[in-house]
Symmetry: C2
Subunit: 207 residues, 2 copies
């Protein structure tokens, strides 16, 4: 298998961290330089019409895009350690928390960064700076919610580490890097403590 | 089971259409009046901190939110007809198409409507009209992509009807109602023909 990826980008990082947690070896990594527009070159758009990384090329030549769909495939290929749920009931509840993190937190952070960061003007055309600033404020709401969740349980989806921790961690690390967001400085101590624990996992170095 | 829902809202409609395709009976429906802010009342926020419908209350009293996670649960409860994939490989490819429709199409349409429609000013504070207008233009890109997909296969994810058709259909029906978007009038004939075929399914009346 071949993974088209981009160093330090938040969505590729989700899949790389998932692969590291699984201990899956032998996937060939192909770097796509977004700053040079390589994701929009005809060759890559032929592989993924959405012009996005990550993209997994299977051994039979088919292309699988979308971070979470790639994780679904890898979870099936190598079920242990389980990161997405055993059985449909646990899978549904982990998916709920994963989606809440992605749709509430990741998307707002991405909007905030893409619409305000000068270096991303080429990726987001046109930028709407007021909207971006508002999204930067609004990402605090789900962050505070997550802080409350982590006050009563050790991981985002409950008692054990799952894909929802990966989604939330990669979102918050993106915000830490590009928005200087540090939950502990804004009174979200549980979220900060959880972030610091996750950052100690070897998989947190995969990016 | 009890489904907290809202007539004609696009995300509840996805779950109602999924339930209708499955032929699942006996779920109690509880209407939440978004225009009166019932979703933000303490009682409902206690059930779903995201203040969103749909929300499924299980018989054991637990609450499951997020449209797609609810579908994952119902698919497990009643596997036939299969709408989300048999086995992890098909599940991953259907999830890819479902996510492309949701993240590229549904979200842009939702942004366009929420940031420009006067009737939704109470739901989206503040509204950014320029951003909304831009999203209304940008939803044409994934619509054209989907038109191309449907030129060579009968359904969004391939040879058979799946959850990805439900996601795309509910997004486009929302755009038809509130943005007057009609793919056929913009040269997307395959998308229009597919929409018209899906609209004939009995499940399309569930909303």
């Amino acid at each position: 298998m071949k993974l088209y990826t981009r160093q330090r980008a938040p969505n590729p990082r989700r899949v790389l961290m998932f692969i590291a947690e699984k201990g899956i070896a032998g996937i060939e990594m192909v770097e796509v330089d977004l700053s040079r527009g390589e994701h929009r070159a005809p060759g890559f758009v032929g592989l993924n019409p959405m012009a996005q990384v990550p993209l997994l090329e299977l051994d039979d030549g088919r292309q699988l895009a979308e971070s979470r769909a790639i994780c679904t495939y890898l979870e099936g290929l190598q079920p242990q350690p389980n990161l997405m749920g055993e059985g449909f009931e646990e899978r549904a509840f982990i998916e709920m928390m994963d989606r809440r993190c992605e749709l509430q937190l990741t998307l707002r952070i991405a909007n905030a960064v893409r619409h305000t960061h000068p270096g991303l003007a080429a990726l987001e055309q046109p930028q709407f700076a007021d909207f971006g600033a508002s999204q930067g404020e609004k990402m605090r709401e789900p962050a505070r919610w997550l802080d409350g969740v982590l006050a009563s349980q050790p991981y985002v989806a409950g008692a054990r580490f799952t894909i929802a921790d990966i989604t939330a961690f990669c979102a918050l690390e993106f915000a830490r890097g590009l928005m200087k967001f540090q939950p502990g400085r804004e009174g979200m101590e549980h979220l900060q403590a959880w972030r610091d624990r996750i950052a100690e996992r070897p998989s947190a170095q995969a990016m």
